[in-house]
Amino acid sequence: MIHDQADYTREDESVHEPLLSEKGEETVDVREESPLPDDLTREELTLPAPSEPEIARHYTRLSQMNWAIDSGPYPLGSCTMKYNPKFTEDVAADPNAAVHPDRPDRAVQGNLELQYRLQEFLADVGGMDAVTLQPPAGAAGELTGILIAKAYHEHHGNDRSEVVIPASAHGTNFATAATAGYDVVELPSGEDGRVDLEALEAAVGDDTAALMLTNPNTVGLFERDITEIAEVVHDAGGLLYYDGANLNALLGRGRPGDMGFDVMHYNVHKTFATPHGGGGPGAGPVGVTEELAEFLPSPRVRGTNGEKGYERFEPAESIGKVHGFEGNWLVLIKTYAYIARLGDEGLADAAAKAVLNANYLAERIDLEVPYGPFHHEFAATAGERDAADVAKRMLDFGVHPPTTKWPEMVPEAMLTEPTEIEGQSSLDDLAEAFDLAYADVDEALETAPNRTAAARIDQVGAARNPRLSWQALEED
């Protein structure tokens, strides 16, 4: 089961790959060549000047030191690391789609049509009435949704100051509410890991603008009381916000709109398999009920009856904009292609297999899973072991480990989300990696990993003495 991962370090060097700057920099005298007067220009510019072959080798070497979903299992809980279908890249690379956002509507009908159709797809999948594609990431979608809630309350003359968020929610929820200017009321988890209705009733009141809820929640549990939860929030005059991070579990089997949610975001780089690109770009479209549609960001796209086909328009009470232009366009094209490829049955099957895989893997591993029944992800506990150490040891067995030490309701949590793309044998390998690491001796855990490009990295040192550029390294 031991697995070498790109450990190509030369023993006589203390780096895995030299920096571009170490391969040779050049300095250009800017003023010598510039058509501009000296007081408007910089004196010089010093940057690496590698040849194209050197560039190709540098980045190829770097890529070989990087784990990806195409390398093997990547079961990061709450991240939904699915296979990214290759053909979507080709669809998005169409040069005809590469146009400027300031084109008049009549000159950009093709893009507007795809935007319109994708809005419709997403509305159908979420059970929502209207959708904006503008937010460039999930957190941006959250902010958009909460700003819509705020605009709604202000429009109705309600001054509400609080957003209620379960303790187990993603950190972005809390940060989003604060960015929108709300106070956060944290809701403790019930004993069964779900929202406690009594605690919710106590937390919700005249000041509640919204409850932000992830369903299934961050340990994979469906909030069975969702109808009652919606009632409590709505009776208090608040809105119900759906965090779409875990939507993959519900595809075709439940829709936020049918559960009483008023506003939601979609993480297309999770649920709809657009590549995450090492940290982005993603996209975080937002869906709302009819009642909230007039507050959506501007512009939206609608069909016209005339010959024009599609047009952009500003919703009556629009919150304005959340991205300078139309959001992460290339990602949105890939989203459309993925949803169209799967269709109704494919989407439902994705959820079914994601849930099957999580349950099978949990059954196969020796670690205990305290909460259930879970859906697409589960939080195992490393018990007396340090979850972060177990994760590091898993790297030596050829898999990416789960999310560790979160959510906090599970001690030494290993939040695991295999997604639908792993088959039985792959899950068996993953289970073996879990069990080997979990059962290993303390010393092996503390010194792991040993088979990766870099050995265990000193994170404390990195933060204590921040060196964030090659210039800072040269000063050292």
Partner: protein, 439 residues
């Protein structure tokens, strides 16, 4: 077709897995009450790969075949093939955020190098590994100003010429921090420093300027704006882009505290406004920076290694006290911009930027020679773009140009804006000829 083409399970495997779990069916694994369950009928028909490629190609072919002389915040330069081929390597494209640095050294180093390039371009010691775009980066600068400035003020001053969409985004972020956005006037395409100086006071937390300005003018008063901001303890934030920064006055030496703007001018072709937000700042604001930072460290064998660092600023640890809610950013676009910058090298970058000055001046001169048009409107140096005053209504001129296959911006009743880069410079002759015919 039934089922997802990307789930590998055979029926036999599914049955075996269900048996291991101890349930009868996939359905029984779902704990969704009947009242809120959905029957799965979205009405979306599955298509084949080939079918979708054809469908989307047909859709995109409905975009007019026009040559764009458009800019105003979204710029296009030739992106060399090496950028696509290397950034499309699946090890980069299909990876996640680098939570396990030991098997993510490649992307971390690439982002560290990107940060370093921005440090050189801005002269500021700290650069993060990306924001969504210029508008959101500017917005995060405003909330940073609110956190770091001791003044009791709540006003963010922005140029009179500011892209409407950018201002709309800024206002959304400002509202949550109880900040208000106010514009200062312009003087022939650049900042009116006297008016700015008159306006700035205790109530101002941030002064924002752009170089080049929205009208494409190169700002001549950066140092003076910096002094005005500094005298009033306001944060001085500058918006620019990576190509312009290659030749224009270095922000740090003009007293700039934060640089925001677009790095997508490198690495990204025209992409309907998709961006790559720059965020660079002074050392003293390090712990208030939004977004991800990659730092150098050592591994257990004493080798240099890279890792995400100072994460206690971020939402997954600090929650509502985080510096921002951002997590997913534009990392892959940053990788592309870095490859593009490496390919150009400093010589190539400076040449590209100088062409942005020369080509804009040359095209403006040729349009100015036509009767019925005057360009550039502002008596300034320009970068990439400039405005044109037309005797006829600008909208009518733009419509006529569109008929002949050229797109330009309408920015006033008798005002057009034209942007020229290596992307469209080859069609400049044709644009001038078209202008000559329609005016």
């Amino acid at each position: 077709m039934s089922g997802s083409p990307y789930a590998p399970h055979t029926d036999a495997e599914t049955a075996a897995m269900l048996e291991t779990i101890g349930v009868e069916s996939e359905e029984s694994l779902f704990d969704i009450p009947e009242a809120v369950a959905f029957d799965g009928e979205f009405g979306i028909d599955a298509r084949t790969e080939r079918g979708i490629r054809d469908e989307c190609a047909r859709m995109f072919a409905r975009n007019d075949d026009a040559t764009e002389f458009l800019g105003r915040g979204h710029y296009s330069h030739y992106v060399p093939s090496v950028v696509d081929h290397l950034s499309d390597r699946a090890e980069f494209l299909t990876s996640y955020t680098q939570y396990q640095p030991e098997i993510s050294q490649g992307f971390l180093q690439a982002l560290f190098e990107y940060q370093s390039m921005l440090v050189e371009l801005t002269g500021l010691p700290i650069a993060n590994c990306s924001m969504y775009d210029a508008a959101t980066a500017l917005s995060e600068a405003a909330t940073l100003a609110d956190r770091v400035r001791s003044t009791t003020g709540d006003v963010v001053l922005v140029p009179g010429h500011l892209r409407e969409g950018k201002r709309a985004v800024l206002e959304n972020y400002c509202a949550g921090a109880d900040l208000t956005v106010e514009a200062y006037s312009m003087d022939d395409g650049i900042a009116d420093v006297d008016a700015l100086a008159d306006r700035v006071g205790d109530d101002v937390v941030m002064v924002y300027a752009e170089n080049p300005t929205l009208r494409g003018c190169i700002e001549e008063n950066l140092d003076a704006i910096g002094e005005v901001a500094d005298d009033n303890d306001a944060l001085f934030t500058l918006g620019s882009d990576v190509v312009a920064l290659s030749v224009l006055e270095e922000p740090a030496s003009a007293g700039v505290d934060v640089v925001v703007g677009e790095a997508g001018a490198l690495g990204l072709p025209t992409s309907y406004g998709m961006g790559l937000g720059v965020f660079a700042c002074r050392e003293e604001h390090l712990r208030q920076v939004p977004g991800r930072l990659v730092g150098a460290s050592e591994d257990a064998e004493g080798d240099r290694a890279f890792t995400l660092t100072l994460q206690t600023r971020e939402q997954h640890i600090r929650k509502e006290r985080a510096t921002s809610n951002i997590c997913t950013n534009q990392a892959w676009v940053a990788l592309r911009a870095a490859i593009h910058a490496a390919w150009l090298g400093p010589d190539g970058l400076v040449d590209l930027a100088n062409d942005c000055v020369r080509d804009a001046a040359a095209l403006a001169d040729r349009i100015d020679d036509l009767s019925g048009a005057a360009a550039p409107v502002h008596d300034r140096h320009h970068f990439r773009e400039f405005t044109v005053r037309t005797d006829q209504p600008a909208a009518a001129v733009a419509d006529d140009l569109e008929e002949t296959g050229f797109l330009v911006h309408v920015v006033g009743e008798h005002l057009l804006q034209v942007c020229v880069t290596d992307h469209n410079a080859g069609r400049a002759d044709d644009l001038v000829a078209a202008f000559g015919e329609v005016i």
